[in-house]
Amino acid sequence: MVQEYLILDIVIWFGLYLIVCLSLNIEYGFGGIPNFGRALAVLIGAIAVGGIINRILMIAFGITGGIVEASGTVKSVANEVIAANPVVGIGILIATLLIAMIFGAITGALFILPSAKLSEDYLAITLLAISEVMFMVSYYNTDMIGGYYGVSVPNVLAFVPGEQRLMVFAGLIILIALLVYLVVIRITNSPYGRLLKAMRENEQVVEAYGKNVMTIRIKTVAVGSAIAAIAGALYSFYSVNVIASSFSRVEWTFYPFLMILLGGLANNKGVIAGVFAFVTVKILLIVYKYEITAALHLPFEAVWLEYIMFGILMLVILVYKPEGLIKEKSIMTEPIKKLAKAKK
């Protein structure tokens, strides 16, 4: 039974992190945009659930009051409706994902605008600062998504019996992650993917060929943020509540960077490898934290060990294996594949 939960946990986190890492890989791996504010887009996905969908449902069910208390009522009413009528639950899920993607894309496009005037290092600092401040605002402001109180979220799978919920949710997340993967492969294995790599290597050359670097950046970060917002929304539905503190920089910016560097930059298969390796270790650490603390006689909590370990892992990758587990390959679009065949 414990093993079953363990595997489902790994599957769920694998799916969530895969979505975020694929989005970051488009931006940083392919495009070379140092998005140190990835966590913001994930938070936007959570706001779409906790702040927007909750309010829409409040109007639909005629519930009034502050978002924190009202979200509890919304949850219980919505759960009953969904339990009786599964279509409503699926409808809410799809509508939320669309809203999350739209808001993600808009914030992403606005978020990258400072890059017009800034060099790489200044840009990274600015993006990190914006993301960090938005994180603080949504934590302290109780009107948006309940701040430090958090808000409840309807269970979109309320029609599934309790004991099967985790399994169905894992299936749902993996399905969506797979769809995202297929879409991302199509986006990157194309002339556009090649353009992104060209931009990463030399912006002047791209400009000289008549492409506007700023437009490419805005498009790329909009797409990336839309994808990352999906993960935020799914995570909120899975945990059935939203609290800003779960969207920290470490969990949603640093760890994704660690996973894509571990797997290999600009390489979608590498992302799968990196995410799988990382998530397995992380979940095992969380599940067996008491056993680990006891066995090693640690005089402190295991979460600190997790930080130290993953920090060191990142440094080891950067120094000893900067190319990651799987090396970057050249992009094979259809015409190139034909050319390659003809040569053979």
């Binding site: 940083y28 401040v133 603080m136 960077f257 402190f300």
Partner: protein, 308 residues
Amino acid sequence: MSVLEGAIIYSNLLVLLSIGLTITYITTAVPNFAQGSFAVFGSYISLTLLRIYGIHPYHSIPVAFVFGGLLGISVYLFILKPLIKREAEIVILMIATLALDLILLGVLGAYSDYLASVTKKGAKKFIFTPYDFNIANLSAIFVVSILVITFILACLFLLLYKTKFGVALRASMENPALAEIMGVNVEYTRIFSWFLSGSLAAIAGCLLPFRQEIVPLTGSIIIVSIFAASIVGGLASIYGALLGGYIIGISESFITYQLSTVLGSGVLVYSKVVSLIVLIITLILAPQGLTGVRWRKIKWFKSILSST
């Protein structure tokens, strides 16, 4: 402690932190994301000395200075130098300092648990205000922070402008390749800058608990203000750090307080938003920071406007 007093104390500490950030940026071209955790490292040194040996935090400043400096040097030698040798890109170096920040967070968190179990007193959250006293109607931390900042700036000035080492240091900041040809060992200046960065941050960390509560995570919260201060002043100039530290420090505490008297106390939690807004305005108007602006050109422009 009056609001203005608090704002000046905070600004003094912010200046210490942003000078450290700027000086390592000038010599190694890495914006150090772990600068905030360097400060928390200093806070835990003074907490340890206080809890175990009963040493007053003001007396632990020299110890924090030395240990902070050693931390700075080891960060450079063991983490950044190998990467720079491999000609890693600047973003990779920045990711390395993010990783370092996470490691420091883990180490400090683990240490706080350990210290708590040794002293039987919580160490995950602490503040030094009960240990402060008054000097002629002013809080001691106000006087101490001003003395510390004056002393450090004076030493820095003497070092940079009155010694041979200082000349070499400035030369290698200005143009490392040329300085190397002239026989300056650029490596020494880098090591020195990391020592200084770590030690100044540790001093700031020693004094910060007199003004705000410290938790292991404090470093990743104040890093936004440190970067804002350094960038507003101009990342390429030590004077910029001084200027930016006061601008951000004052606006974050004093202006936020003034806003709260108009808009209600709810505004107080958004002090970091104020520094972010100042940061973004600076980046749009003067990406090189205030010290990067060519003021003479603007004055000349103004005089034309006034004469016509």
